[in-house]
């Protein structure tokens, strides 16, 4: 892994010249396959949308996809559950994902920029070792991380979830690709000739050029932390600090034998995915996953 693809792709112009309307009649089967896939992916989401609007009685009797009449009651019940702990979980999750992704993006961008744009002793070794982190199974890390953080007195605190979430090898990898593709060496050279310091070049030249890539890294890391279960599950004992994933898990574990709690679990599930789906739909153009080359098109 000595060199990362650094040549700009010539795809944009080529894309425009794609012939349209050639033998268009054959599009029916591919469209049908894709729509089936879409239907399959939307099925559970539609179900939870419908189920969360149902009262306890309606849940077991009415058509699975027919809306019910109990949405507001369900939300009120969930909010009342253990003095509104659900919203505490929501706030915790936002904190873990927001702060974690922000720090993670900063660390990754700095590292990626250094790896892409400087030549220094040990560069390839540092890159390979950092990226090797991708291959280490989470459990090999999570259990000893817990023990080490417990020794430092940090287990069962916000730090226990935040700190291990910051380093994300894959983000460094992406940042290196983005930096290589988005920042022309000539621009940095010109800046240096004009006498700009390295930190100033980073702030004025590199970061603005990497901005779209930074948004992508932030989003991926935000989702990864928001969705993480293993780490907080191992690190936290006190449900006041739980994120949604662990909170909903415990709610399910308590509620599995009590159908009366199903409504809470279902409503909680719906509310927990709304923020991410909103983020995802509004930030469409940043969901680019150019893994092995090229820049973020925006």
């Amino acid at each position: 892994m000595t060199a990362i693809a650094e040549k700009p792709r010539t795809s944009v112009a080529a894309e425009k010249s794609r012939p349209r309307g050639v033998r268009r009649g054959l599009g029916l089967a591919p469209t049908a396959v894709l729509l089936l896939g879409a239907l399959y992916c939307l099925l559970p989401v539609c179900w939870v949308l419908a189920a969360s609007t149902k009262t306890r009685g309606e849940l077991f009797t009415s058509n699975a996809f027919a809306p019910g009449t109990g949405l507001l009651d369900n939300i009120a019940d969930l909010s009342a559950y253990r003095d509104g702990i659900f919203w505490q979980w929501m706030a915790n999750t936002a904190l873990y994902a927001g702060v974690g992704a922000l720090l993670s993006t900063a660390v990754s961008v700095l590292a990626g920029y250094a790896l892409a744009k400087f030549r220094f002793f040990g560069r390839d070794t540092i890159f390979t070792v950092l990226i090797g982190g991708i291959l280490v199974p989470a459990v090999v890390l999570a259990v000893p991380q817990y023990l080490l953080l417990a020794k430092a007195g940090l287990a069962n605190t916000y730090w226990a979830v935040l700190l291990p979430s910051i380093l994300h090898p894959y983000s460094i990898y992406l940042a290196r690709i983005y930096a290589a593709a988005a920042i022309p060496d000539a621009l940095l050279e010109a800046g240096r000739i004009d006498g700009a310091g390295e930190h100033r070049l980073l702030r004025v030249v590199a970061l603005p050029l990497m901005a779209p890539g930074m948004v992508t890294i932030f989003l991926f890391q935000f989702v990864a932390i928001w969705n993480n279960f293993l780490l907080p599950f191992i690190m936290l004992a006190d449900d006041e600090r739980f994120p949604l994933t662990v909170g909903l898990y415990t709610l399910l574990a308590t509620g599995a034998n009590q159908p009366a709690l199903y409504n809470l679990v279902i409503t909680g599930a719906l509310l927990s995915i709304i923020p991410l789906i909103a983020l995802f739909l509004t930030m469409q153009r940043y969901w680019r996953t150019d893994l092995s080359g090229g820049s973020v098109k925006s």
Partner: protein, 308 residues
């Protein structure tokens, strides 16, 4: 080597790159290297009880050599877990990546309607946490709630238990496919969009149809992205934890040692045996890193080979 060529234009600048890399390196040391080292240390220790094992000083930690590893490797339940996970991973990898590839190729072919809608819908499960995905499907598997059972009944299939020992694996595979296809599809699709269109023109002039172009031009050009998605999927599926853990409350068919990772968790936190948990987790690391490393070698050759 390409490093020299590229490096010729990159800047030599004393301490700056080290300064920028410092946060990553410090975090790596604290949260990756140190835990691995600590695990290795723990894996070679065990607790020795002296006397009746009651007094304060009767419990001492001693060097155990490779005993914990021997015990981990000799544990039948550990390998049974691997067998389950291998079946699970095999199905998930083939079906999920297969579907992702088909969807990506279809999206990329010009003649599809509603492509944007399909792309967004198929990627949507990526925004749903594994716990919630399992929970949603878990409810859909429950006979009292599920439209699936109602549909099956309409076709005359009665009393299918989607959560019993013979079916729970497939139910879990379904959750993983549902959650993972969209992300992989997007990775492959993004890669497809980056291929210059003139390649297809050349193939068309040579008389190749859409299918031939997809199979003979697009798939080979996707190889690097396919390898990467495969590596990430292997790592993710081998480490399966969230899905079986979340199904446990609603299915008796999932034991607390269903996957190797769950066994580590159970050993460490339920049975309080950190030492064998450490040994087991390192065995898991080695077993799961080997296929990934083999793939990474391929990646180096294929994805970055053109730069050499």
């Amino acid at each position: 080597m390409s490093t020299a060529q590229k490096g010729a234009r990159a800047h030599r600048a004393g301490a700056t790159p080290y300064l920028y890399l410092a946060p990553a390196v410090v975090l790596f040391t604290l949260f990756v290297a140190a835990p691995i080292g600590y695990t290795a240390y723990l894996s070679m220790r065990r607790v020795k009880f002296s006397g009746l094992g009651l007094g304060k000083n009767s419990r001492t930690e001693i060097f155990a050599g490779l005993d914990n590893y021997r015990a981990a490797v000799a544990d039948g339940e550990f390998w049974a877990g691997w067998l389950r996970v291998l079946g699970y991973a095999g199905l998930v990898l083939t079906l999920m990546l297969g579907l992702a590839l088909v969807f990506a190729l279809l999206l990329d072919s010009a003649r599809v309607r509603l492509a944007r809608f399909s792309r967004i819908a198929i990627f949507l499960p990526y925004a749903v946490p594994g716990v919630v995905a399992t929970l949603l499907w878990g409810f859909l598997y429950l006979p009292s709630l599920s439209p699936i059972h109602a549909t099956l009944r309409a076709f005359g299939v009665e009393n299918v238990d989607l959560l019993d020992p013979s079916t729970v694996l497939f139910s879990m595979v379904n959750v993983a496919i549902w959650g993972g296809t969209g992300f992989n599809m997007l990775v492959l699709y993004t890669q497809l969009r980056a291929i210059p269109r003139d390649y297809y023109e050349a193939a068309r002039i040579d008389g190749a149809g859409e299918l031939a172009i997809a199979l003979r031009v697009k798939v080979p050009m996707l190889a690097p992205a396919l390898v990467l998605t495969t590596v990430f999927s292997i790592i993710a599926t081998i480490q399966v934890f969230t899905e079986p853990m979340t199904l446990r409350p609603i299915s008796n068919a999932v034991s607390s040692t269903w996957s190797p990772l769950m066994k580590v968790y159970t050993d460490a936190f339920i049975n309080g045996d950190l030492y064998s948990a450490a040994a087991t987790s390192l065995v898991i690391a080695v077993i799961s890193v080997v296929p990934s490393l083999l793939f990474m070698r391929l990646v180096r050759r294929q994805a970055f080979g053109e730069e050499r």
